[in-house]
């Protein structure tokens, strides 16, 4: 076994020397035509949310294809270095470091879960490389005010604040927040408890459950017995469907307001059936949204490539990529440090309107784009999709 150790280290040594050699060769020969590498660190396998990871990867691939087809950025081709974070914080952090040190990524995109993002922020800070968040909702991501971290997408306290008027207008007095025991579930629950203080006559109870559960009947029985007016479900798709189905099974009569775009996933109706009727879901997407020319290009290309419409978070991701592109064009460099400097000042046409970052130091609105509207939609019959759903309220 002594020999084996020797082999490993020798191999490691050789590998690192070869890598260094290649880099030198690369930088020496053709600097102008050097490719731009963007790191994509996403949950591509379990226990991560591999489904969303797949959608992220599709979006990224499409963007790279379109950009390169149009001649790249400033004549330089773009390539992706894809890494799997498995939904684990430590894997995400080390994957990001590899994207930076091995692949020389100019910026890191594609992060999904807030917990992974929070760990990656330390890496971004350490290496001074931009980290682009889009659908990771933890306030901390921008509230920590790391100069390297940017977000084009919503965050918990803002979402929660926009939820409060809706709760008031609908006349709910007693609300249960059903939250999975993850950053996603509990992060929102906390933010909502905070935000709802603005409406003193609404009582809120947070019911926490294990994210990987397969049986929510007991939890839903308890929720049903407390006879709330509304249940806000904050969990990912499988438990979303379970909570609706099993909630109705145990006689839950309250309105169910469920997580974001989960009801639009193809397995929603086939799993919840009749129980899904009457469910309200908040979303950032609505046909009334003003899709820009950039957005149309994206949607058309996406439909052509994959045969279905992209979800709203993919719009934000598209904007993330375009933000990096804008920064490279503006600074004329793909150096990460240059991008960190340039990004706060970029403006460009996003998919649903102009994008620019708010840069209010000391607040959550630092390197944060927040021009999104929240739509509350109701599913009135089995099989309703985005187009059929009834728009019951808009929060801007």
């Amino acid at each position: 076994m002594i020999n084996n150790i020797g082999k490993i280290s020798r191999r490691a040594l050789l590998a690192s020397m070869t890598a260094a050699g290649l880099l030198l060769a690369g930088s020496g020969s053709a600097y102008a035509a050097e490719d731009i590498t963007l790191g994509l660190v996403s949950p591509l396998s379990e226990p991560g949310d591999a489904r969303s990871g797949d959608a992220i990867k599709k979006t990224a691939d499409l963007w790279v294809k379109l950009i390169n087809g149009a001649g790249g950025i400033g004549g330089r081709q773009v390539k992706l270095a894809v890494f799997d974070d498995q939904g684990k914080v430590e894997v995400g952090a080390s994957a990001m470091e590899r994207a930076i040190t091995e692949a020389n990524a100019s910026a890191i995109l594609g992060i999904w879960s807030s917990s992974v993002a929070l760990a990656q922020m330390e890496v971004a800070k350490g290496y001074n490389v931009p980290l682009m968040a889009f659908y990771s909702w933890s306030d901390d991501i921008t509230a920590k005010n790391y100069p390297q971290v940017f977000r084009i997408g919503p965050y918990n306290s803002q979402i929660a604040a926009q939820m409060v008027p809706f709760v008031k207008d609908r006349g709910y007095k007693k609300v249960v927040v059903l939250a999975e025991d993850t950053a996603y579930g509990l992060g929102f629950a906390k933010a909502f408890e905070e935000a709802v203080k603005a409406a003193p006559d609404v009582t809120v109870e947070v019911v926490q459950f294990q994210a990987q559960t397969q049986d929510l009947t007991a939890v839903m029985s308890k929720v049903a017995a407390s006879k709330p007016d509304a249940v806000i479900v904050q969990t990912v798709f499988s438990a979303t469907n379970l909570s609706i189905k099993q909630g109705r099974e145990v006689g839950l009569k309250a309105d169910i307001i469920t997580g974001w775009d989960w009801p639009l996933l193809p397995d929603f109706w086939s799993t919840v059936g009749e129980a899904g009727v009457g469910v309200v879901y908040p979303t950032f997407s609505d046909p009334s949204l003003n899709i820009t020319a950039t957005g149309k290009t994206f949607v058309d290309a996406y439909k052509a490539a994959y045969g279905h419409e992209p979800a709203i978070f993919q719009y934000y991701l598209w904007d993330n990529f375009n933000a990096v592109k804008a920064a490279i064009e503006k600074s004329g460099s793909s150096e990460p440090a240059k991008l960190v400097e340039t990004l706060p000042g970029v403006t460009f046409e996003g998919t649903i309107g102009p994008v620019f970052f708010r840069n209010e130091a000391g607040t959550v609105n630092f390197h944060q784009w927040d021009k999104f509207a929240m739509f509350f939609k109701k599913l009135n019959k089995v099989g309703d999709g985005e187009k059929e759903a009834e728009l019951v309220q808009v929060a801007k």
Binding site: S45, T217, A218, R248, G251
Partner: protein, 295 residues
């Protein structure tokens, strides 16, 4: 609040019936071979995938899915016994019990990984035989599928009782459970009955998974949950005791639901573990297990 209590009790019992069905096979196999099968949950998982295949892809009626699940579960269990376990328990190595645990544990990890690779991580759904929510006197709320599943589970366990206490196979099983050496001496073919026990074990696991599928989902890691529940049940009930398995299944169901409702919703799976640890500490052979060393 009595409504919540009655509702929880009933839910717990219905759930417990399925736990018992998941666990009987594990208990049976342990009784006969002294093998703790960590891959039992994957028999269930692959069974439910077979049901999805038959019902969803081939478009056959729902009841054929149950049969497909039982057949698939039995086939995989049989293969596991022949390919993985028999070489070990026929060998002359020490600590066979522990070694079969390692082997089946690795097999289980392998099957999960392989299933993830072949089927993807998508959650699938199986239609049930009675897809309707019932409101009994506007007091008890249940889905029809839950009742179907419970009735089927109890019927299957009753069938197993009949086999064990009224047929020659059952008599041989009992002989092997009580005195493996004696049974071998009087000419009972251990291999044959071990195979039969594995067939039954896999069929029950597959069937239980297919009955659970309309209430929950089908996905590659679902076997882990099934395994954990089955373990807790057989350990509480006493390894090798079918009567104990039935009782412990119902007990686990009720304890889980009651604690979830009345203590804390966030720790559902922990209650089963706590129950199991308590039983093992105070009565290591399980509630219905015989005294003396099982292994």
């Amino acid at each position: 609040m009595t409504q919540l209590f009655v509702q929880s009790l009933l839910l717990g019992l219905l759930q417990g019936g399925l736990y018992a069905l998941l666990a009987v096979g594990l208990s049976l196999v342990f009784g006969i071979l002294r093998v703790v099968n960590f891959a039992h949950g994957e028999f269930a998982m692959l069974g439910s995938f077979a049901a999805v295949f038959v019902v969803d892809m081939l478009g056959l009626p729902v009841w054929t899915g149950l049969i497909a699940a039982a057949v698939a579960g039995a086939a995989i269990a049989y293969a596991t016994n022949i390919l993985v376990l028999r070489p070990i328990y026929l060998s002359r190595m020490r600590q066979k019990g522990e070694y079969t645990i390692i082997a089946t544990f690795l097999l289980s990890q392998f099957l999960i990984a392989a299933a993830t690779l072949s089927f993807g991580t998508t959650y699938r759904k199986l239609p049930g035989l009675w897809d309707q929510n019932l409101a009994i006197f506007d007091y008890i709320y249940l889905s029809g599928n839950r009742i179907v599943a419970f009735v089927a589970a109890i019927a299957m366990i009753a069938l197993l009782f009949f086999i064990v206490y009224r047929t020659d196979i059952g008599r041989a099983w009992r002989a092997l459970t009580q005195n493996p050496l004696g049974a071998a001496v009087v000419g009972i073919d251990v291999n044959r009955y071990a195979n039969l026990a594995f067939l039954a074990s896999g069929a029950f696991a597959g069937l239980a998974a297919a009955l659970l599928a309309p209430l929950m989902f089908v996905f590659p890691a679902s076997g882990v949950i099934a395994l954990v529940k089955a373990f807790i049940v057989v350990i509480i009930g006493g390894l090798g005791s079918i009567r104990g398995t039935l009782f412990a299944g119902l007990l686990l169901g009720v304890v889980e639901v009651m604690c979830t409702v009345y203590i804390d919703t966030g720790y559902t799976d922990a209650y089963g573990f706590a129950l199991m640890i308590a039983v093992l500490l105070f009565r290591p052979q399980g509630l219905f297990g015989r005294t003396g060393r099982a292994v």
